[in-house]
Structure formats: structure tokens, C-alpha cells
Subunit: 347 residues, 3 copies
Amino acid sequence: MRDVTTHKKWTLTELTKGLDLTVKGDSDCLIEGVATIQDAGPAQIAFLMNPLYQKFLPKTRAAAVILSPDYAVDCPVTALITTNPYFVYAKIAAYFDDKPKRVSGIHPSAVIGKSCEIAHSVSIGPNCVIGDHVKIDENVVIGPGCVIDEWVEIGAGTEIQANVTLYHRVKVGKNVLIASGTVIGSDGFGLAKQRGKWHKVPQLGTVIIGDDVEIGANCAIDRGAIDNTIIGNGVKLDNLIQVGHNVQIGENTAIAGCVGIAGSANIGKDCMIGGGTGVGGHITITDNVAITGMTAVSKSIRQPGVYSSGVGGVIDNKEWRKASARVHRLEQLIERIKILEEKCRVD
Amino acid sequence: MRDVTTHKKWTLTELTKGLDLTVKGDSDCLIEGVATIQDAGPAQIAFLMNPLYQKFLPKTRAAAVILSPDYAVDCPVTALITTNPYFVYAKIAAYFDDKPKRVSGIHPSAVIGKSCEIAHSVSIGPNCVIGDHVKIDENVVIGPGCVIDEWVEIGAGTEIQANVTLYHRVKVGKNVLIASGTVIGSDGFGLAKQRGKWHKVPQLGTVIIGDDVEIGANCAIDRGAIDNTIIGNGVKLDNLIQVGHNVQIGENTAIAGCVGIAGSANIGKDCMIGGGTGVGGHITITDNVAITGMTAVSKSIRQPGVYSSGVGGVIDNKEWRKASARVHRLEQLIERIKILEEKCRVD
Amino acid sequence: MRDVTTHKKWTLTELTKGLDLTVKGDSDCLIEGVATIQDAGPAQIAFLMNPLYQKFLPKTRAAAVILSPDYAVDCPVTALITTNPYFVYAKIAAYFDDKPKRVSGIHPSAVIGKSCEIAHSVSIGPNCVIGDHVKIDENVVIGPGCVIDEWVEIGAGTEIQANVTLYHRVKVGKNVLIASGTVIGSDGFGLAKQRGKWHKVPQLGTVIIGDDVEIGANCAIDRGAIDNTIIGNGVKLDNLIQVGHNVQIGENTAIAGCVGIAGSANIGKDCMIGGGTGVGGHITITDNVAITGMTAVSKSIRQPGVYSSGVGGVIDNKEWRKASARVHRLEQLIERIKILEEKCRVD
């Protein structure tokens, strides 16, 4: 039998310790895991946040449901009442996370450079390559196959998952999570043209990543040209994101997958950027800006708010062809209106 | 002399064995390779499918051409007549594929965990890292530098190319192909905000990949939050595709490069999604939907058909600036029409 | 003390040797590094190109400023006057590049195949895997964790950074730079449908990369189906770029991040393609074309010029919703104009 799960059990009292919530029901019941409200069984805990799932509440078989005060009356099982059910869920779900634990120590297959400072509690996985003068603080976990070049510094509690590449002099803060395949500190796209040919502009800065940052899989974050590329504390990046040289991203900004940020863009704090968006070079986005998915940000945004570009709405392809043609003939339409306006005036 | 090719030769009879086609001409001629219809020499086989290339048929020097019945009359050389020339070409071309053969066995530099079940015919390349409890079925090939974490299961005949990362508990079906740099099972982008800061929501599901799936290079497929991310049998993904947590992709759906699929999107069977498209979170796309490239799918699609978004057509940048301005002034246009309408009524 | 920098110093005379410029001021001053014009100190050199930064010139504390003749009069410090300040900056900045130097030789942890031809000056990093029959010319540097498959050829002076994957038979020219995570030579997305299922079309070509090419991080360049995918001399690719099978990119074309190029597209020489752009399959783009960011190139471009698609301009989301709705109701607008035109004629 292949038994993946750990089958740890906790009482509700244990799971909710330190959390700001009210338990209405049995605090002693044993919980073995989490599940969706529609699928949860009698040893599982569920949460309700999205109104679309409210319909499943009356018939839920969960041991307990995490929900806001509004939904509490309709809860047929133990209710964990809180103003922020998703946050409470996150804290409780962490008890059931079966992600592999890494043991401290350096795997014998890892290649470690000279003059490194590596704390005792650090875990370095098989086939890692660590360059000279690298400094790795307590409780850092580095997954298999990572390449960490000279003079990199990694703060305490950070986890760098398998097959990540950090170029020389990159600085990573505390409690950062970097997912597999991500590349940090590659050269920015700096090119000078001379007699019809491109010449490389050396990229002399580096990348500075703050504390509590999360970076998804297969991202590419370039080092600065002269100054550094800077990712602020608490920034969250999804997968396949490109961050150009000298970009600055302010604290607690969250960016969804497939976003491309061109060089020297300056993105404020507490922004949310939807997937597939592109931010042009040298553009400034102020704090508290939300940008919907697949927007082309071609000029600076100076006021907080929600922004979009292009024409929204997915439609039938034939209609789309006609609509597109109409947009490109708008000038003729304007001409026809002008003629009408003149006629009407004359009349 | 560097001799890359294998110079194997087959007769047309050998190459067409088991294929549904009619040979018109010499079945015994020896074939050494495939080529385009315009470039093929007298020991090569070509195919004709795209009408744009019909003009090359009368003068082709190929030994034989794979084509549909309509073109057969004009074929000056041996004709392999079939209703599906591209499929027949695919089967014949496989004879000439010189991709490296991997030998069975585990390379001594690979690091293998405890309690793994690895079939005898499996090939594990140099510098792979296989975690504990991994199960790998017959004839699986794992390229160099792959990292396969705990409890992963890989079905028979699957090929995982170099530098791929599979996180813990990912399940891969039979006869799957995963290209280099792809990351499967990284954490979904789950964040709960509390007092202005983002907190990680543990991602407790995994990724289940069906049989006969192909996944291109440098993709990122996230594990589910509670339930799993599911890639159906026969799904084909190109390069640099992001698949968010809890996404489901139905059987035989093909998705081109640079597509981003946000969390909990549910894509049907037999769909085709063009390159650069973005699919929003929690969106449902029914079966048999085609989506043109770079579409923003911002709402569910309930009817089969072809869909697009935005305004199509690439135009001169100056015209584009004018057209864009006109779109943003459409309200004024509508106002002018209203005034005209009132005038005309009054008159 | 962690001392990253090398603290090499050069006189202006040394730094400007061989460059086409005029020094106005002290050629003997010692320079320790480069900095931005606003931040430079008395041992640093700066450059001025972007008019936005002209305001910092009068008060700069730099030892010297590289600038064009127009700005020379206002320069309060030593002026390096040239018609191409950015190019001169690039050449001078190279003196201060502290990127790690790799030592010649093959790291003992690297796995090298049979019948390889590897020049003496080559540097192969830890945990690299080199297949059989690979040919690597003088002064090539291959970073840690790279996987280079059978029959690959790499030209003199090329640098392949950590964790790059080159598939079998890929040919890389001289003085090429390939950043980490990039995959070259993976199978093109070739699929033939037969009885409702996709069948793989073998990808028998390879990828040919010219001299002086730069390829950024986490790109994916597919091998050709029959012929090869070809990247011309001097082409510069940013990060996260997808290049489909059989694509050809002409000399000195520069492509920004997150661009996707579908199969068999043919892009001319000296083009510039903005970030996030998509180029459709089988499309031809002539020489000297510039394409703005996030354009969907859905048809061939036969004339040099600047091109765009869609509707530009990022706007407030509510306005955007209204504008989008208006575009989709354009037909009604046209109808209303028609009615007015008829009325006016009748009147």
C-alpha cells in the first residue's frame, strides 16, 4: 500500500489556537484534513467565502466550516466564525501540509565553493552548485539542482526549490519562497547600436529581494544595469513572470502569471496586477493600483484605481472580425456624421 | 567527418506497412529520409497538405509524395494517396527520427531516494535526483538533471526530458512526453490578506496528468489548493504555458505556446487554444471550442464555436494611435448622433 | 568584511583607448566605477543620453560624463564627447564588470560523453552533462547544471550559463550568450489528428544559432519539423521568449521579453519587436519592421515601418467597460447613421 498522507489528527481546539474566531459547536472533534465544502467528510474541515458555494452549506458533511458571521446561522455543523475565513483557513490548512521536510546538512553530491558562510541548520540538496563567498543564513532550504553563484546572500528561513538559478551577488531576504526553474540575476536586456550592430551593455547591478517574498516557477528577474532591480518585502509573484533590469516593485504587491515588466518600470506598494499584463519600460505605477488581466500598461498611472486597456469581452470570431473592421473604419463614420451635421445645420 | 545521421534506408513497402493509403508508382524504391516538397531529392519522401505548396508538386524531385486524392493526378513521382496526408507523414517520418536512444539503467551520478519502485527497463540520466517512495513504471526515460520529488508516480512509456522538475505526489500517466525546463506541481498562487499583508494558503492538492499527454518546454503547472489540477488524456501543451491551481483540461485539447490559464478554470475536451491567450480564473469553457491567439477569455464559453477578443488586425502605428483615440471618444460620437436624431425628428 | 568588488582603477586615458570620442577635461583622473548621472561620485563615470536626465548634468559629482556634443557645454566636469554615448558607455562599463571568471577545464562532477571534441580552453561547470559526439570550440564557458545532448556543436567564445538545455544536434555559433533556464531544440508543436486523437509529428530538424547572438533566461526555442529553426547572426532575444519550429529570425533583430513566435514565421533583419507581442504561424515580417509591445501580428508585414494592433491606452476600468460595450454596439451606431442619412436625403 502506498500511503502518502501522514494521518496526523488535531482537535479543533488545537487547530484554532491563537486564531481570532468563535467556535459554535464541538471544539473537541478530531480533524484529519481539509476539503471543499461540497466534498468534505466528517473528519474534515471546510471553508466558505465565495457566495457561489453557499448552496452547499446546508448539506455539508464537514466536521466544521470556517465562515463569516453572515453564514453562521445556516451552518448545520460546527461553525468557526471569523471576519476573514480565508486567512483562518490558510492557518489551519498549514497543519495538513505534507510537503517534504528537508533535513539539515549539505548533500555529499553538492559542490560548495570557497569562503562560504553556511549556517548549521541549512539544508542543501543533491547536485546543488554553490559558488565562492556565498552566505546562507539559518534554516534556509535549497532544493536539488540549484545553482547559486558567487557572493549571493540568502536570509534566514528562505526556501529555494529545485533547479533555481541565482546569479552572482543576488541578495535574497528572509522567509522568501522561490519555486523551481526561476532565474534571478541574469543580464538585463541592455543593447547599444553602433554601425548597424548591437553591442552588449554590461549589467553591473544585481537583484535585491526583500523579506517574505514569494516567487513562482520559471520566472526570470534580471539584474540591474547600474543600480539594482528591487523586489520589496511581501511581494508575491506567480509563475512565468519577466522582471526587467532596474525594475522596482513596492511592498505587498501581488502579480499574477505571465506578466512582463519592462526595464526601469517602478511599481508601487499594494498593487495587484492581473495575469498576462505587460508593463512598459520606465513606467511608474503608484500605490494601490489594480490592473486587470492582459492589460498593456503603456503610460504611467498616477492615481490609485482599477485600470484596463484594449477592448474587453470574448465574442464569436465572425462578430469579432466585423467589429474589428468597424473600428478600423471609424474615421469614415466620423466623416459621415460631420456631413450629416452640416446638412442639418444648413437645413 | 562528423556523421550525425544514421543513414537507415527503407523501401516504400516497409514504410507504408499498416497505413491506410494507396501507392501509385514504385513501392520498392529506397527511402533515406523526408524533406519538403520543394527540396526533396530522389531518395526522400515529401508530403503535400497546404495548398500554398501545390505549385511545387509538378517539379518535385522527391522519390514519393504523400498527398490527398485531389492532388494525385498532378503527381509526377510515386504518389502515396490518403485522406490524411499529415498523419501518414507523421507515421513515416518516425522511421527517420534520430533522437538519442537512452539505455536502460540508472546512471551512477543519479541520487535515488528510499523505498522507490523503479522498473528494470527504466532509464534515469546523469545527475537526476529522485525522492523517496517514487514509483516509475516500465520503459520510462528520465533525462539528465531532472528532480522528481517524494511519492511521484510515472506511468509506463513516459519520457521526461532533461532538467524537468516534478514536485511531491505528482502523478504522470502513460506515454507522456514532458520537455525540458518544465515545472509540475509547484504551489498554486493562493494568498489570503490579513492586516495589509499576504499570507500563504497551503497548496494541499497535486497535479494528475493523464495518458498520451505532451507538455512543451518551460511550462509551469501548479498543484491544486485542496483538490487536484487535472490534465486529461491526450492533452497537448506547447511551450511556456502557465496552468494555475485546480485547473482542469479535458481530453485531446491542444494549447499553443505562451498561454496562461488562471486558477480553477475548467477547459473542455477537444478544444484548441491559440498562442498567447489568457483564460481567467474560475472560467468554464465547454467542449469543442476554438480560441484564436492572444484572446482574453474573461467569461465562460458555453457554446462550441470559434472565439476571439479585442480588436484584430495589425496596422501602421500612427493609424493605430488615431483609431485608439477614436475608440476612446466613441461616447462623443454617440452624443453627436443623438443630437442629429433629435434635430431630424424636430425638423 | 565581505568585499564583493574588485576595486580596479583605470585612468580615463586607459578607459577611452580606441574609442571614437573627444575628452574635454582631465584625462588622467582615476575611475573606479560607473554610476547614474545623479548618483555618481568623484571616482565614477556617468553617461547622459535620455533628455529626461539632462537636469542632473549641471550638478553632477561624477568624475566624467559621456555625452553627445549638444550637452557638452553644460557639463561641469570632464566631458567624454561622442555621437554615440550609450555605445561608449557600454565599452567603458565592461572594465568594471565583476561577473565571475570561469577557469578552463572540466569540473570532475561533469559527465562527458564519448567521442566529444572539447578544446583545451573550454570551461565546463559542475554537474554538467555532455552527450556523445559533442564539439565545443575554444574559450567556450558552460555553466553548472547544463545538459548538452548528442552531436551539439558550440562555436568559440560562446558562454552558456547555468541550467541551460541544448537538445541533440543543435548548433550554436561563436560569441553567443545563452542565459539560464533556456531550452533550445525541444520538439516543435507538430500534431496530426486522426480519428479524434492527436498524433505526434516527429521533429527531424534542429536549431541553428548564428554568431554574436544573445538569448535571455527561460526561453524555449523549438527544433524544426523537417528543415531547421534558424536564429541569424547578431539576433538578441530577451527572457521568456517562445520560438516555434521552423521560425527564421534575420540578422540583428532584437526581440523583447515574453514574445511568442509561432511555427514557420519568418522575421526579417534589423527588426525590433516589443515585449509580449505574438507573431502568428507562417507569417512573414520584412526587414526593418518595428512592432510595439503586446501586438498580435496576425498577417504578414511587407513594408518597413512601425506597427501595432488592438486599441492602445490604459484607462479606468469602468470607462473601459463602457468603451468595450460601445465597440461591440458599433453596428447599431452605423444603422442609426444610415437612417439619419436617408432622412436627410428625403428631407
